[in-house]
């Protein structure tokens, strides 16, 4: 019944939505930021521990749709151990692909984020997929205000 939509709601997405990874408060975070998508009410609190330019740990709390929860969960897994520059580069690539600015059809470079590439066919949902990433970008810039995807 929902065949076509399976490119958006892949099993991995359901899995991360049901059991989000790194879904916890981090007491020794070096940065903490609140993200908000006013359009749908998704909220995220992101905790980041940066040590010597390297992201040692990321976790999050909040409530959102399956796409935004899975995206946040996958993000926390993928950026850990990377430098701030590498993380920024990955954000840029991910953002370009989900907004359709980058029209490639091979998503190997995205690693496990590739399951979210299908979002590009659903413009109304791009903000869901990028909320956690915008929040992370802001946290890395030490821009402590609430970020909003609007």
């Amino acid at each position: 019944m929902f065949d076509e939509i399976r490119d958006l709601y892949q099993e991995v997405v359901f899995d991360h939505n049901r059991n989000p990874r790194n879904f916890r408060v981090m007491d020794d975070a070096t940065r903490k930021i609140d993200g908000f998508n006013p359009l749908c009410g998704d909220r995220i609190t992101l905790y980041v521990k940066v040590n010597d330019n390297v992201i040692e740990d990321v976790s999050f709390q909040g409530s959102g749709c399956a796409i935004s929860t899975a995206s946040a969960s996958l993000m926390t897994e993928i950026v850990r151990g990377h430098t701030e520059e590498e993380t920024h580069g990955l954000f840029e690539l991910f953002h370009k692909i989900v907004t359709g600015e980058d029209t490639r059809t091979n998503f190997d470079e995205l690693g496990k984020l590739a399951v979210l590439a299908g979002v590009r066919a659903y413009p109304a949902r791009v903000k869901c997929a990028t909320l956690a990433w915008h929040s992370l970008e802001a946290a890395l810039k030490e821009d402590a205000e609430t970020v909003s995807t609007e």
Partner: protein
């Protein structure tokens, strides 16, 4: 169930209902956001542009006269539709939002002072909150909010207790877009008037679903949008009692709203033109007139009765789904079914229903304080119109069940 309208026939009036979405017949259940347009309205728009179009109120030529007659004819239709006393009381605006802003900036700014109060309710659309907040910033007035209960009904005792000698205006939604609640506006107006306080009603949702008689209600202002009433977007109506409108200063300046201009002094035009600066939405107003004709031919009371049947049918079916929670359970309610599903976010519901051709809204419905009150980030909302069918309700319910299944 015997239905009180011949929906099959009515549906033939709406060309868009033949659309398929993702290969399935469109099931349009987002009527609270905007309604679809019957052929009568579409034909009118086309006819105006092909045969009767020119600017209004300013030409000696035949076409301008024709356009003016049609435009003013539409005003008369609207006047009769809501049973206003006079056509001077019908101000054409862009929509409900503009109507509220007009009252806030013209009536509010000229009447309110620091410490005065404006009373609204906890179930207002942002367009009946923000214009008053702006007014409060400008004047030092204070915005007061009457609370609602868990069914989504105004708590009348608390509302009455908030009316006092500082209250200068009450503005209340007639029917809530997020909850469906139909407010006891007659009672609200009675108690406010007993204290000499004028009342504005946001009729954006009420007007498509029931007969509205502004004289019977005795409201002081009534606002609504054409696009939610099977009419075009870009046109709406502010009704105001003549005595109030007369005393109000103009809001915007420009052409059409003046009688005489010199660089020293300007004399304003009479009602309703005093509040209609600039070239109005001409074809849209005429289109609204056609929508009013169309709805009146069906009958607002029949529409209301049929939609109640649909709502009852939909609510009963929805409540059979264990993980579904209805948000907005007022005793007196219009055909809006707001709901949440345990563990499935409304946004996901919206995207998945769309795959099945079903258009619903998912989000906060421009009523964030309502979402906060019910402790949800958002709801999914199916909002019905008289052209919806019980079969479409079945499709919706079946779709919801499928979503629950894939989410596991």
């Amino acid at each position: 169930m015997t239905l009180s309208l011949n929906v099959i026939k009515i549906r033939q009036d709406f060309p868009i209902l033949n659309e398929t979405i993702h290969g399935r017949p469109l099931v349009y259940l987002d009527n609270a956001a905007s309604t679809q347009k019957p052929k009568a309205v579409l034909d009118t728009l086309r006819h105006v542009y092909e045969h009767d179009y020119a600017n209004v109120h300013r030409g000696v030529h035949t076409l301008s006269q024709r356009a003016t007659d049609l435009f003013e004819g539409a005003r008369k239709k609207v006047k009769d539709f809501i049973n206003a006393r006079k056509i001077e009381e019908i101000i054409f605006v862009r929509g409900t939002t503009e109507a509220v802003n007009l009252v806030a900036q013209s009536y509010g700014r000229s009447k309110l002072q620091a410490g005065d109060e404006i009373l609204i309710t906890a179930m207002e659309h942002h367009s009946n909150i923000v214009p008053w907040q702006i007014l409060c910033q400008q004047t030092g007035a204070v915005l007061k909010v009457a609370p609602i209960n868990l069914s989504g009904e105004i708590i009348m005792e608390e509302f009455e207790a908030l009316l006092n000698e500082r209250t200068k205006l009450v503005s209340v939604v007639h029917m809530s877009n997020a909850l469906g609640t139909i407010n006891p506006v007659k009672r609200i107006i009675e108690v406010a008037h007993a204290k000499g306080i004028p009342v504005m009603l946001d009729g954006a949702q009420a007007i498509p679903h029931m007969a509205v008689d502004v004289q019977d209600l005795d409201c002081d202002f009534y606002a609504f949008s054409g696009h939610k009433l099977c009419g075009p977007s870009g046109i709406g109506v502010l009704y105001g009692k003549e005595t109030l409108l007369k005393a109000m200063p103009p809001w915007q300046g420009g052409g059409d709203m003046i009688r005489m201009v010199t660089f020293d002094k300007t004399e304003y035009n009479t009602l309703p033109y005093k509040f209609e600066a600039g070239t109005p939405a001409i074809a849209e107003a005429i289109g609204l007139g056609a929508a009013v004709d169309y709805l009146q031919a069906i009958g607002m009371d029949k529409i209301a009765a049929y939609e109640q049947q649909l709502l009852e049918y939909a609510t009963t079916k929805a409540l059979e789904i264990p993980s579904l929670k209805v948000i907005g359970t007022a005793k007196v309610k219009g055909a809006i079914l707001g709901f949440t599903l345990h563990h499935i976010h409304p946004h996901d519901i919206g995207t998945m229903l769309d795959q099945l051709g079903i258009a619903v809204r998912a989000g906060h419905h421009c009523a964030m304080p309502v979402m906060d009150f019910f402790g949800v980030p958002a709801t999914a909302r199916a909002s019905f119109s008289f052209y919806n069918t019980t079969e479409e309700v079945d499709t919706l319910i079946d779709g919801i069940k499928q979503i629950i299944e894939v989410f596991g």
